[in-house]
């Protein structure tokens, strides 16, 4: 992909996936990578930041004898996601407007 994914947008994408249901690190990364080209090492800092800002919480669950750390979106996280969607759609509409040749000179 030629377009760079910025940190706030990546945060939004992660929160959107978690809105669908809790997920653990590996599955989250795989799901994200199924759609966009992000590096495997990108996700840890994103999750840490989102957790620190109170947008998600973690809990551990046993799975086949090992530990799985699940990430869950918080109410604040949902608010943040709504804000991110709003911002993105505004931005998207403007870029669409320019790309589709809707700009007039002057």
């Amino acid at each position: 992909m030629v377009f760079q994914l910025t940190a706030p947008l990546l945060d939004g994408c992660v929160l959107a996936i978690l809105e669908q249901g809790d997920a653990y690190g590996y599955s989250l990364t795989q799901r994200l990578r199924g759609e966009i080209d992000v590096s495997e090492s990108t996700l840890y800092p994103v999750l840490r930041r989102l957790q620190r800002d109170g947008y998600l919480t973690v809990y551990d669950e046993q799975f086949q004898g090992r530990n799985r750390r699940y990430y869950a979106i918080t109410p604040t996280g949902r608010e943040q996601l709504a804000e991110c969607r709003e911002q993105w759609w505004t931005y998207e509409r403007k870029i669409d407007h320019i790309l589709s040749g809707g700009m007039q000179d002057g």
Binding site: G25, Y26, S39, L47, R49, R69, T90
Partner: protein, 195 residues
């Protein structure tokens, strides 16, 4: 390199650079990550993460970037301006009405000034030209030159007035155009505080 060696290297590298709790947390994340990848995909996953050294470098770089952002953040997020397109029909109607109103006020005012300036300018130029012509029949050469000088000054001021009138015309055009753009088809600037 097997998974255990990979993680041991990673832990050693991170322990040298970060507080122990942070290092442990990161190692914990990647341990789980490689376990989840399963035996068949673990090599692929390690290759994608890069060598322990490369992964450590990426982690450190990421942290440095985040710390730099945190220092900048309060200033950057205090207030931001963005524009929203006017889509509301009522707003659009009000915009057109305002532009027409502005036109009604601006056009006669600036138009009157425009006519005044042009007329004054032409008057001065004609006056100057007449002085040049008639003073040719005057008495001494000294007073003739004096009269010509005065005439030239009048012609110059006349030209300046006409130029000013032209400028005013453009000003009016520009003002109306930008009013139209802002109020009717354009975008308004909105300032919104961001917490």
């Amino acid at each position: 390199m097997d998974k255990e060696t990979y993680l041991r290297f990673l832990r050693a590298l991170l322990m040298n650079r970060l507080p122990a709790a942070d290092a442990e947390d990161i190692v914990r994340f990647y341990t789980e990550y490689l376990e989840e990848a399963g035996p068949e995909k673990v090599q692929e996953a390690m290759a994608a993460l890069g060598s322990p050294e490369e992964l450590t470098a990426k982690i450190m770089e990421q942290r440095a970037k985040e710390e730099a952002e945190e220092i900048r953040e309060p200033e950057a997020s205090a207030s931001k301006a963005y524009t929203v397109p006017i889509e509301n029909g009522v707003l659009r109607g009000a915009g057109i009405a305002l532009v027409v109103l502005a036109g009604i006020c601006l056009v006669p005012t600036l138009g009157g000034l425009f006519i005044g300036f042009v007329a004054g300018g032409i008057g001065l130029i004609v006056c100057g030209a007449l002085m040049v012509a008639f003073c040719a029949y005057g008495a001494g050469i000294g007073s003739m030159l004096l009269a010509w000088g005065a005439a030239l000054v009048m012609i110059s001021i006349g030209s300046l007035l006409i130029q000013a009138a032209k400028g005013m015309f453009y000003l009016l055009k520009k003002a109306m155009k930008s009013l139209w753009k802002t109020l009717v088809e354009g975008e308004v600037s909105v300032h919104e505080a961001v917490n």
